[in-house]
């Protein structure tokens, strides 16, 4: 078991190095640099900097240095535990990402729980009642969820919420709490905002997971040991819950690791549309604006999260399935 984890941990540094290179390369790929897009943005706003100011800025940001130098500067400071400064926001990336990351995780976990609570029972029901009306109903509902482009869903729901119920659900906080330090009141305020995005995000996942559970459960229910359990005189529901389900949700658990990057992209759009203070929009903005250090750092953070997520899910799997545990040992 420990060997197993150690083995997994061993490759993490290498992965991270690769990630850092890739991340940096990705940000450098588009033409121009931060200033080009900054100037462009100003021009779009009808104003402009004169050459003098541009030169000054380029010097200040060290954008006049060669790429590889910029990369090593970045990685160097990262190794020192310094996440660097955002070119656009002109403040430390740590500050910027900090709470947003927290909220992102909150949102992610929230929708994850929502998803599982809905998906697993559905999966079980539609597996045990394969090809029944219930099965069809759930299947269709699920897929409608999966198939709905969530940015569309988000905007429509926002309007309906406002138009029908007079509640406005932009952002995760009411203005008075947006800046406030954490308190119960703030938490409550968060809860009163977070439900809609949570659903919008969860809806898509539900379908996938329910489908996985259903498929696996079907396979498992076909296996002799299920038959044997029946022959032992085990009640059906007990049987389903005790044996195959445990096997069936294993793959679901193993998807945990990929959940973060998925939600970063999926959640991103929702966050943009509903203007949620999560990491997604920050990243998108940083990428479009070529705010390289910020973008790079965020990408890296998410890669780390993914690596951790995968690790955790593998361990969970091992816990769930003795076979893996033993092999690993």
């Amino acid at each position: 078991m420990h060997w197993y984890i150690l083995k997994r941990l061993a490759i993490v540094p290498l992965m991270l190095f690769l990630f850092s290179v890739i991340a940096f390369a990705l940000i450098q790929a588009p033409p121009g640099d931060f200033l080009t897009s900054y100037i462009a943005e100003l021009a779009q706003g009808g104003s402009s900097l004169d050459q003098a100011q541009i030169d000054a800025l380029r010097r200040q940001y060290g954008l006049d240095r060669p790429i590889y130098e910029q990369y090593f500067l970045w990685v160097g400071s990262l190794l020192k535990g310094d996440l660097g400064i955002s070119l656009e926001w002109r403040r430390s990336n740590a500050e910027l990402i900090g709470e947003r990351l927290l909220l992102t995780l909150a949102l992610t976990t929230g929708s994850l729980i929502f998803t599982w609570l809905v998906a697993i029972p559905i999966g079980i029901v539609s597996a045990t009642r394969q090809y029944s009306a219930v099965d069809y109903l759930f299947t269709v509902l699920n897929y409608v969820g999966l198939a709905t482009p969530n940015f569309m869903l988000a905007l429509v729901l926002m309007w309906v919420a406002f138009d029908r119920f007079g509640v406005s659900v932009t952002g995760l906080f009411s203005p008075e709490y947006a800046q406030a330090p954490w308190s119960w009141a703030r938490f409550a305020d968060l809860m009163s905002h977070i439900w809609l995005p949570m659903i919008v995000l969860g809806v898509a996942g539900t379908a996938q997971i329910a489908r996985v559970v259903r498929a696996n459960l079907l396979d498992e229910l076909g296996k002799p040991y299920a038959e044997m359990a029946r022959a032992k005189g085990l009640p059906e529901w007990k049987l389903v819950l005790k044996y195959p389900t445990r096997v069936a949700i294993a793959p679901v658990v193993s998807t945990l690791g990929w959940y973060f990057p998925q939600l970063l992209s999926g959640g991103l759009v929702v966050s943009v549309v509903m203007s949620l203070p999560t990491v997604g929009p920050l990243l998108l903005r940083a990428l479009v604006g070529q705010d390289m250090y910020l973008a790079g750092t965020i990408i890296l953070i998410f890669c780390v999260l993914t690596v951790i997520g995968t690790l955790v899910s593998d361990i969970l799997l091992a816990v769930l399935d003795p076979r893996i545990r033993m092999d690993a040992a």
């Binding site: 588009p30 033409p31 121009g32 080009t36 897009s37 900054y38 100037i39 462009a40 943005e41 100003l42 021009a43 779009q44 706003g45 009808g46 104003s47 402009s48 900097l49 004169d50 050459q51 003098a52 100011q53 030169d55 000054a56 010097r59 200040q60 940001y61 060290g62 400071s77 310094d82 660097g84 400064i85 955002s86 656009e88 926001w89 002109r90 403040r91 430390s92 910027l96 905007l155 926002m158 309007w159 406002f162 406005s168 932009t170 952002g171 906080f173 203005p175 947006a178 800046q179 966050s271 943009v272 549309v273 203007s275 949620l276 203070p277 929009p281 903005r285 479009v288 604006g289 070529q290």
Partner: protein, 650 residues
């Protein structure tokens, strides 16, 4: 001013035609110049408390001897309240700049002339070489520190004269030979700036030096900033702060500390000052400046409203949603013209009203044609042919564009100054080549030897395929639509035209590389052709695409790039001369320039005077003193030029 209000009440889509507004502006200026008032001053309750508590000197001591008097649009207001606005993050820095309009001099409400602000009065020397600027004795920074000539001189010495902060001298304060002009203090409240040439536009340049675009303003709190500048402060201490903040060098630190929106500590002279928050926060809050130097005619210290809250929105559509939901009290920026119907339909229930501020002349979606396209010489030659451009111009169904892209608002026109503006060249030019006439367009094209091929599309005289491209940035709502409408009109003329919607960075990179054939951009500088970065000035950077090669030519004194045609060269001459002559001559020159614009069609105008750019204004139903009409343009810092200090809640 009065005219402004009356003329305003004629619904959207109207045409503005008010030469009187010109005087009105002057009138307002005169009023504003009025000297100290007899009656004692009043202040906001929240300040009165502080005074009572002894934490703040009485209002008389806080105000300068000669406070600026601002005439409210509707009437004397009452104190209190919060104005909620939306912004889109640090990139939206100018959202603050426009609101604060914290410049040494300001434009009048109709944008027609320059009026006193921090600078009480100014006069040039006979030869326009030297300008004397008079500050307000007794005026204070927001931290109570006296505001004196040092404010300007610190900027001059610490910033302009410092190579690290200012690698090359900015044009606006450069001598003819490119060196830095001379600045000296006559006394605490009088500053003199001397140039080596007659520089009549200097005051106007001063109106732009308010720290817009996240730069340093021309008046800086030296008493605070000195500590971050190695010439004044302690180097070790600065080094420590730099490394602590994880910055590269002191210049970054200095900028960060010196730019008000990044540093709430920095003392300011605006009506509201950042309160424990910066432009990179989720909510950027401004609180009233207890030392603000302006009062209303009744002697009430401005501003009326206590607090401004800028709320961050990651997405413009979400911001519009908030506006519809009545969560914003005064929003002009980022409101989408396309959403106008929704806004109006929900105004009642969400308790706001919608007013429109048309753009300040020029054009809101002009088709700029590259005059120096080199990638395909034959095509380049064609683009440079005036008749071809005329054919294009009359080949565009502008009514269609006005209806589809601008909800039927605005006026079909060439990119010239606004009709009420002294620079207006007259209708014959404003509407030249704007009537839709495909027949004639086709005749011209045929005349140019552009034969139609078997598929009905025209080829170049040489028989090579003729392929036009319109590059457009989804910057302002309808531009991509305008591009597509134009493209289909051109297709009807037998001109194959691709529309390329590009990310702005890509577009700009291509523009600088002179790879673009045509672009959609606006002309919002027709009111200010001689200062800043006029779209029509080939030397402007970034400018429009019509003469990129000549920009290089001018920048390198003719070493590289391409020599401009006589017409383009004339543009530069006009601008250069205008900087050195009096108002009347400037008007002549400007009109000549506008005529040239309408004749040459470097930028083919479609529709102008629409509220496309920050002109659809959502205002809380109870918010008073918001003008129905103001000149709307970046140099005027709209809505700053609407004097938000005077807004108040009924």
């Amino acid at each position: 001013m009065i005219e402004v209000s009356t003329a305003a009440s004629t619904g959207p889509g109207r045409r503005l035609r008010r030469p009187a507004a010109w005087l009105g502006g002057a009138l307002a200026a005169l009023l504003a110049l009025g000297t100290a008032l007899a009656q004692p001053y009043q202040e906001a309750p929240m300040l009165a408390e502080l005074v009572a508590a002894g934490e703040l000197p009485p209002v008389e001591e806080r105000l300068p001897e000669e406070p600026l008097v601002i005439e409210p649009f509707e009437g004397i207001g009452t104190y209190g309240g919060v104005i909620r606005r939306g912004f889109t993050g640090p990139g939206d820095h100018n959202n603050y700049t426009r609101w604060a309009y914290d410049s040494l001099l300001r434009f009048s409400v109709d944008g027609s002339e320059i009026v006193p602000h921090i600078i009480r009065a100014w006069e040039p020397s006979e030869d326009f070489h030297t300008w004397t600027l008079h500050l307000r004795p007794g005026m204070k920074w927001s931290d109570g520190h006296p505001f004196t000539a040092d404010a300007l001189l610190f900027y001059y010495e610490a910033v302009l004269q410092n190579e690290e902060l200012t690698p090359s001298v900015p044009v606006w304060i450069a001598n003819h030979d490119g060196t830095l002009a001379a600045m000296r203090a006559i006394d605490d409240y009088t500053v003199e700036v001397e140039f080596d040439f007659p520089y009549t536009l200097f005051p106007m340049e001063l109106t732009f030096r308010d720290g817009g675009d996240r730069t340093l303003a021309a008046h800086l709190p030296g008493h605070y900033l000195a500590q971050f500048h190695p010439d004044y402060g302690d180097p070790e201490e600065i080094a420590r702060m730099v490394s602590e903040a994880g910055l590269n060098d002191w210049t970054q630190l200095f900028m960060q500390k010196g730019i008000i929106t990044d540093n709430p500590e920095r003392p300011s002279t605006a009506a509201w000052v950042p309160y424990r928050s910066s432009v990179s926060d989720q909510v950027f809050t401004l609180r009233r400046n207890p030392y603000y130097f302006a009062v209303d005619p009744a002697g009430n210290q401005l501003p009326y409203v206590d607090e401004i809250q800028f709320r961050f929105f990651a997405d413009v559509e979400a911001l519009n949603f908030a506006a519809v939901a009545g969560e914003l009290d005064m929003q002009d920026r980022h409101i989408q013209l396309t959403n106008y119907p929704v806004l109006v339909e929900n105004a009642e229930r969400s308790g706001y009203r919608v007013i429109t501020w048309p753009t300040f002349g020029g054009n809101d979606a002009a088709l700029w044609v590259n005059q120096q396209y080199t990638i395909d010489p034959e095509l380049g030659e064609l683009l440079a042919n005036r008749d071809f451009r005329i054919a294009l111009s009359i080949g565009i169904d502008r009514e269609e564009i006005r209806e589809a892209a601008f909800l039927g608002l605005g006026e079909i026109r060439q990119p010239v100054a606004a009709p009420w503006h002294p620079y207006y060249p007259g209708d014959e030019y404003a509407f030249q080549h704007t009537e839709f006439d495909p027949e004639r367009a086709n005749e011209i094209l045929d005349g140019l030897g552009l034969q139609r091929g078997p598929n009905g599309m025209r080829t170049l005289p040489s028989g090579a395929p003729l392929r036009l491209e319109i590059s457009v940035v989804p910057a302002f709502g309808p531009w991509p639509d305008v591009a597509q409408l134009i493209a289909s009109d051109f297709a009807d003329l037998g001109l194959t035209t691709d529309v390329q919607v590009r990310e702005r960075t890509a577009h700009f990179t291509m523009r600088d590389a002179n790879e673009l054939i045509m672009e959609i951009w606006n002309e919002d500088t027709s009111g200010f052709p001689f200062t800043g970065n006029p779209k029509i000035d080939p030397r402007s950077d970034p400018a429009t695409i019509f003469a990129v090669e000549s920009r290089t030519w001018y920048a390198t004194d003719g070493e590289r790039g391409r020599e401009p045609t006589p017409e383009i060269a004339r543009i530069v001459e006009i601008i250069e001369e205008a900087k050195t002559v009096g108002t009347d001559r400037q008007i002549e020159l400007a009109q000549e320039l506008n005529r040239l614009v309408a004749d040459q069609l470097y930028g083919i105008g479609t529709v102008g005077l629409t509220p496309m750019i920050q002109g659809v204004v959502v205002v809380n139903a109870n918010l008073a003193n918001v003008p129905d009409l103001v000149a709307n343009d970046w140099p005027l810092r709209t809505p700053g030029d609407a004097r938000p200090e005077t807004f108040f809640y009924r």
